[in-house]
Symmetry: C3
Subunit: 153 residues, 3 copies
Amino acid sequence: MDVYGRMKELGIELPKAPAKGGVYAQAKEFGQGLIYISGCVPTIDGESPHGKLGAEISIEQGQECAKNCMLNVLAVLEKKIGDLNKVKNVVKILVFVAGTDEFYQHPQVANGGSQLLVDIFGEEVGAPSRSAIGVNALPGNVPVEIEALFEVI
Amino acid sequence: MDVYGRMKELGIELPKAPAKGGVYAQAKEFGQGLIYISGCVPTIDGESPHGKLGAEISIEQGQECAKNCMLNVLAVLEKKIGDLNKVKNVVKILVFVAGTDEFYQHPQVANGGSQLLVDIFGEEVGAPSRSAIGVNALPGNVPVEIEALFEVI
Amino acid sequence: MDVYGRMKELGIELPKAPAKGGVYAQAKEFGQGLIYISGCVPTIDGESPHGKLGAEISIEQGQECAKNCMLNVLAVLEKKIGDLNKVKNVVKILVFVAGTDEFYQHPQVANGGSQLLVDIFGEEVGAPSRSAIGVNALPGNVPVEIEALFEVI
């Protein structure tokens, strides 16, 4: 499987890796080919969407945000390793969903991010272990933030 | 130590591994014998309890939920590796406790989950590194969700 | 680079490792030289500060709390490995910031913790991958909690 051919078929184009928003590394390699990607927020049309699930943001918009977070995660990963075909395992993602105290459909929102991984890398490689949780607020009032752990060759 | 003998002594019976609630892998192996188990919610008498700490759920109920999340984590792990005697290290758990803005006893709740690990695997193997935090809402309005990292032979 | 010489130059003194606040291990080694440090809260002048960002706690106080969490993380790590010069990689930190529903400057708060790592270990080794998120409440009503993953020789 060539990842870029798959992405082209799916009409997926990687964005430019986002700018760093603080004192940290956007990607950190450790152990034998393990890489942690720092929490990415969505950027749609060059701007970060604002608001919370259960209020200004619908589930569909939240899923689009999760997909967009994941595109940023992959852009950061590509910048680090040069070629997404080197990905041999999407190990783990942690999906933070900013919502009201009565919003409980975090997994549906998170699916927008993990589905992209499955679409690009296939079920076996791409389906990560995952937690999806609610939080009362995220940086800059974005609706979703995702961090990820990859294993590469 | 045989894990199943210990569990029998303690009167602990593993539930059937829960159904998957989204697009992800319930367990993902990586590196040398490392396995991430996706966030598990509690199921008591076949249903997930609802509510939050500091409101509908007491600390004792929360501890029972945390224990039950962990039983589900172990059920998923057993489904993945076949035999819990292969566990050589419970590396890390992350315990999310849904509570009111004024509930601050997350560690007491989380103990319900980590105590089970110590009971089953013993202190040295079973006591994991841990974070226990509050969140304003969890999937399906469950009170507790736990993810875990194991090392197996 | 000798880590302790650097800390002396910076006027940084490690506190005594904090007491454990529940059923878990404060540090857990796994894989090849990987160590997870459990979530640490701040202790300033022997007491944990209370309150939330956006309410009782200012950004500057939050940064001081994050720095103090990290000092506790390093104290726990030193207790585990004996010598902080053995740190070869600060892999990952997860920074939980307790704030109001309208507080969105979690990364600025988290910088107080990650800057300490960069100051002590230098940019390449010390800058970790990071997520910084908001939560509605933390154990004991502390404003910040940080967990960390290190790689040591």
